[in-house]
Amino acid sequence: MADKNLIGHKIGAYSVDVEKGRLRFFAKAIGETDPVYTDEAAAKAAGHKSLPVPPTFLKCLESEGRDVVELLNLVGFDLGRVLHAEQSFVYHSMAYAGDVLTFHGFISDLYEKKGGALQFVVMEARVTNQDGEHIADIRSSLVQR
């Protein structure tokens, strides 16, 4: 059983640049064909200041700023036995290419089910941009089998 004292443990604030190339690569990887996500002129014509960060890419940016293996080690999890259980996003404002997003992450829960056969760690992060604007809150739940 992971140490319950880790609940509330801060993962640390870190900042990540949102790059156009990464957004285009992500659009290709998920088969996105809407030009708003790949063509800056189309994005601007649709009222955006640049290419938008698509809904789930915030999770990718969050992961970029920290070492997931180190985090799993902290709670005593083994990468090969870990699965993603749940993921949620609450959106407050759009994020765009060129933004610098800051993630304030923390461990919000640790618990087990089935008499310890399944162990869960829940991490949350508050996301803000370079102007201090609140972009989103994201929550990730991982399970170790």
Partner: protein, 138 residues
Amino acid sequence: MSVRFSDIQVGDEIPLLKLQPVNRTTLALYCGASGDHNPIHVDLDFARKSRMDDVFAHGMLSAAYFGRLLTAWVPQSQVRSLSVRFTGITQLGHIPTCTGKVVEKFIDAGEQRVRLALRCANQYGEEKLAGEAVVALA
């Protein structure tokens, strides 16, 4: 033509999103583009050492398909929340289809919103991902 709150009824289905079959290239591209370099999704040797028969899709790839489902229906600026539960593993060769159904119409924070129940299933009808989204509609 934009989607209007007054035109939507509880029980309505939004236009579905049918994907291409998931193959190893899909997973390699998603690995690189997402930055999720967990070898269990791309390295067969690692997957076998972890007692899996083969590599399998990132759960967040299907979650990204939910994102596409929503932003094909309304502009992204109207998406208020998205939550997903990973209920099954998408294997190589699976063909995901994402669907969404309106389950509630309500007013929150002074705007008209709808709650959608989302589902992603493979070609055999097996659920892989379940979710919920809240979208604001004029």
